[in-house]
């Protein structure tokens, strides 16, 4: 299976290797927010491993995770699902911030009072 760019990004951000997972489900067993979640910690791991990331990003499960790290603590294989959840959250934030500004918008913003440095940093900030 080809790794998508997004998947690679997630793995790099989280430092998690989902291949280490043996699907024992101890993370989900230990999760205090389990019943609130649509996708449970062990599913997070396997979905990221399979590159099935879009549904995760749309799911409210992301924000039900308390980041209590119980799953990280208990995982016998050191997979650290909570870090993966956090990485998916980050990916969502990054996508939301994608390209709010394009280079074409800049000339219209130029005026004498605005320091050019501000435009430069705004461009950096609002562009993916």
């Amino acid at each position: 299976m080809n790794k998508s760019y997004l998947q690679e990004d997630l793995l790099r951000m989280s430092g998690v290797n989902p291949r280490k997972c043996m699907q024992c489900g101890k993370c989900s067993a230990t999760c205090p927010a389990y019943d609130e979640m649509e996708y449970h910690p062990h599913q997070f791991v396997s979905m990221v491993k399979n590159g099935d990331i879009e549904p995760l990003m749309k799911s409210q499960s992301l924000y039900r995770c308390l980041t209590c790290f119980a799953c990280v603590e208990r995982c016998p294989r050191s997979v650290e699902p909570a870090k993966l959840v956090e990485a998916v959250r980050l990916a969502v934030i990054r996508q939301q911030g994608a390209n709010r500004m394009t280079a074409n918008d800049i000339p219209a913003l130029l005026d004498e009072d605005t320091p050019q440095q501000l435009l430069v940093s705004a461009f950096r900030k609002y562009t993916k």
Binding site: M22, S28, A29, P76
Partner: protein
């Protein structure tokens, strides 16, 4: 100067098809030392060998080069031929012109050219060969078995039945090991005691077997066939040969509150005790940490009630020296500590137990006389949760458990679940598993019976945490197949703890210079072909000290180890491999570099007197290689900074001569 004969084999058309054998024989004739060179169709045939013998006599050859197939194929054959012709067998070298020349090169000129070069290298080597004789050492016809569990017992019995004396060293007061603690054995559900205790009696009664119980190996010296072992016999404050095992002292001992290790601390024993009714030797032992008489001199009751007069408060540790030809390691296993697994509340609740404790709880000789009762309140549990893989199959980074699969847990958990449902059908039994691993004869059928006939609830998933609440244990777990989180109010939780090698194994391995893996399991000489031998000659492995095993596997390995030992002890003399390291005492500066790299502990140091140039004598520390222990790897030869260490048969000079011949 050597007189070398070169014999080039055609191997039918195998070699002659791509190598011009006549040209090879002709070219090698010009090499230094070569006095005779010929070729023949099949050098390994009777006629070919006769020709070699004839030529040795006719040309007074001192060395032989055979250009033929791989030395792995016929080196032994041609060495025998040389010996038959009166030559030292190690004066033969083989140039591999079949596997490494004619078979991999297609063109005649290329093959011929390479064959000549390989022949030249072999000639260059033979020019420097020296006659070698394998060293001989006598064999002490007695074996030592370390560990008295089922592995040690079976090994000892098998060796003793072959007529060789065996000593068993067991650190506990009785032999029997873990199997003595078990209730029933999978998959046939035989009672462990019924099949083990007769064997223990056999051991006790066997005229060739001595048991050193409550003892440890404290020192091992020597090498294969000639081990010098010191056994430390701990003072048990009871004369072993006098005690009748009547148990009067055990009944009368006032100090009755010592946790009973045989029942894993689930009940108490007196300070003077016999671990269990069928103990071998059936002799009482005083626990010096609990006995009032030994601690502060007050009591002495046991001595008064002992009609045999076996109690001896003044007994001292005893050291016994004995010689052995072979040593079998059978140190066994223990369940790992549950201290690092807080989530299962093992240390918080008495009702969270390990499987070995469960085994005692269901054993008729156990603390509850075989009734399954909760350790906390003695009530019958109605909901039992079994958790598999506790501490097995963990990632090394997690620092909590073991990386390997403990192998036996799936089966004993199925056994526990099945027996519970059989005896107490009103009990709900849950087994949380990651995978159920049942490779073995009748194993999967056994597991299916637990599920299908006994209605054990097997749930794929893991228990996340156990919280004691009132007299219940709240178990939170995941059910991966129905994608639910489960909450079970359990009465008893049983943890299938991973198994690890006994703690005594690591220091023992150091004493024996036997190698271990990172998990402290002993390494075998070859993982497939020599599974019961340690790489250290004369040391054999039996049972779980080598890796997780169930009883049938342990017994078969024990028998295999015994047969290897018998094979060794049956010899009167051991012939070594003459291609061993040796050190030039004149050049050795006693730096110990070689000693440190030797994987076999074959190198020792001795102080020797040397005549100095000014006619005085000086004592210098120099390395000495024990040829019976050295396996001839050559690691020391490279480590030696002064170049004193060399390897017979593969001397620095010889290899360098080969390099030169190839590069010429």
């Amino acid at each position: 100067m050597q007189r070398i004969g070169v014999f080039v084999c055609w191997c039918g058309s195998n070699i002659a098809g791509t190598v011009d054998v006549k040209a090879v024989a002709e070219a090698l004739k010009a090499e230094p030392g070569v006095v005779f060179s010929t070729d023949y169709q099949y050098m390994c045939s009777q006629a070919g060998q006769d020709m070699i013998k004839e030529s040795v006599r006719e040309h007074k050859l001192t060395g032989i080069v055979i250009c033929s197939c791989s030395p792995r194929m016929h080196e032994a054959t041609f060495r025998k031929t040389a010996a038959a012709a009166g030559l030292n067998p190690y004066m033969v070298e083989i140039a591999n012109i079949r596997e490494q020349c004619s078979w991999v090169h297609k063109e005649m000129p290329i093959g011929t050219e390479k064959a000549i070069i390989l022949g030249k290298a072999a000639v260059a080597k033979v020019n420097l060969n020296t006659p070698l004789t394998p060293g001989e050492s006598p064999v002490t016809k007695r074996a030592l078995v370390i560990g008295g569990g089922i592995a040690g017992i079976q090994t000892a019995l098998d060796i003793a039945d072959a007529g060789f004396p065996v000593d068993i060293v067991e650190k506990k007061p009785t032999i029997g090991g873990k199997m003595a603690q078990l209730d029933k054995t999978f998959p046939t559900l035989d009672c462990a005691a019924c099949i083990l205790t007769p064997k223990m009696v056999d051991v006790a009664q066997h005229e060739k077997i001595r048991i050193f119980s409550y003892s440890e190996v404290s020192e091992v010296k020597g090498f294969v066939g000639n081990f010098d072992v010191t056994i430390k016999k701990h003072a048990r404050y009871v004369k072993e040969d006098v005690c009748t095992g009547c148990g009067a002292c055990v009944e009368k001992c006032p100090m009755k509150k010592v946790p009973n290790e045989f029942n894993l601390g689930m009940d108490n024993r007196p300070a003077i005790y016999i671990p269990f009714a069928q103990a071998v030797p059936k002799v009482a032992t005083i626990d010096p940490n609990a006995c009032n008489m030994l601690k502060n001199g007050k009591c002495g009751l046991c001595a008064r009630v002992c009609t045999a007069g076996a109690i001896d408060y003044k007994q001292q540790d005893e050291y016994i020296q004995e010689k052995y030809g072979a040593i079998v390691v059978a140190t066994g296993f223990n369940p790992i500590s549950m201290d690092k697994f807080d989530e299962f509340a093992y240390n918080q609740s008495k009702d969270v137990i390990t499987s070995l404790e469960f085994e005692r709880l269901t054993n008729a000789a156990g603390p509850t006389a075989g009734k399954l009762l909760r350790p906390s309140d003695g009530k019958h549990p109605h909901t039992i949760v079994f958790v598999q893989c506790v501490g097995s199959r963990c990632d090394s980074c997690a620092q909590k458990g073991k990386e390997y699969c403990s192998k036996i847990c799936c089966m004993y958990t199925a056994k526990h679940a099945m027996l519970t449902r059989d005896k107490y059908p009103d009990t709900e039994v849950y087994v949380f598993y990651i995978d159920v691993r049942t490779p073995g004869k009748s194993f999967d059928e056994f597991y299916r019976r637990a599920v299908e006939e006994y209605d054990v609830h097997y749930i794929k998933g893991m228990v996340g945490k156990v919280t004691p609440q009132g007299d219940k244990l709240k178990v939170q777990a995941s059910d991966l197949l129905s994608n639910k989180q489960l909450h079970i109010d359990a009465d008893l939780v049983v943890l299938a703890a991973a198994i690890e090698p006994d703690k005594s194994a690591r220091p023992l391995a150091t004493m024996l210079t036997a190698s271990m893996d990172t998990n402290d399991f002993f390494t075998e000489a070859h993982p497939k072909l020599r599974p019961v031998e340690s790489p250290t000659a004369g040391v054999f492995l039996s049972g779980t000290c080598q890796g997780p095993k169930d009883i049938p596997e342990t017994v078969s390995q024990a028998g295999a180890a015994a047969s290897k030992v018998i094979g060794l002890l049956a010899k009167d003399k051991l012939k070594g491999n003459p291609c061993v390291a040796h050190s030039n005492e004149q050049m050795c500066n006693g730096c110990s570099s070689c000693e440190r790299v030797c994987p076999y502990g074959a190198i020792t140091y001795e102080d020797k007197e040397f005549r100095m140039p000014d006619r005085t004598t000086a004592i210098r520390r120099v390395a000495a290689v024990n040829p019976a222990v050295c396996q001839g790897c050559g690691a020391c030869t490279v480590a030696c900074p002064s170049g004193a260490m060399d390897l017979r048969g593969f001397m620095n000079e010889q290899i360098m001569a080969e390099v030169d011949a190839i590069c010429k």
